[in-house]
Symmetry: C2
Subunit: 112 residues, 2 copies
């Protein structure tokens, strides 16, 4: 980040060049973001394939779609991991809420 | 999945053992889910570190925090990738809504 500041200060003599330099840096960072999103979508595809199998097993075994103990445990683990990785734990709670609600909907659908 | 069906049919003679077999399979699948979540949380930590840098660059350049064209393009790419990976595109839309709203909040915070 201090590297970026140095870059822009060197080019700020010409406002147009400076703006282009910001845009070029943002463009490059966006490519990294897109790469991360691609990895995450592939992981989500694997995750829901697995949770669908869990849903089928639960339906066969007559287990309920929801498991609150498991969910509390997951959230606690994810919050701890987030803190370790320097990520706002609120973000992983929102991530978990998303994947858990979709997984449970699909489990309920599979059970019917 | 047909493998799981075969497994459970072999053990269904004893209802207790069959239930344990389901539970054991679910337990194993949950470990895979936890592994995927760990990878995703690490990727999210990297993603928000990068979007924070983008937010700083935008603030320095005087660019607005939001970029609707970029967002539409991202959603279209992620939907296409989801379809290719056999994932419900609605899930990636929800994923994108989550990360984009958090990133924009943080950009607005950085700009102030």
């Amino acid at each position: 980040m201090s590297e970026h500041e140095t870059d822009t200060r060197e080019t700020v003599v010409d406002k147009y060049t400076a703006t282009n330099s910001f845009a070029a840096q943002i463009q490059q960072l966006r490519q990294s973001i897109d790469g991360i999103d691609t990895e995450i979508v592939k992981l989500l595809a694997r995750r829901f394939a697995i949770t669908d199998t869990v849903g089928q097993l639960k339906a066969q075994a007559g287990f309920a779609p929801a498991d609150p103990d498991r969910e509390h445990q997951q959230v606690a683990q994810l919050r701890a991991l987030a803190e370790q990785e320097g990520l706002d734990p609120m973000i992983v709670e929102q991530y978990h809420a998303l994947v858990a609600s979709v997984a449970k909907e699909r489990h309920a659908h599979i059970a019917h």
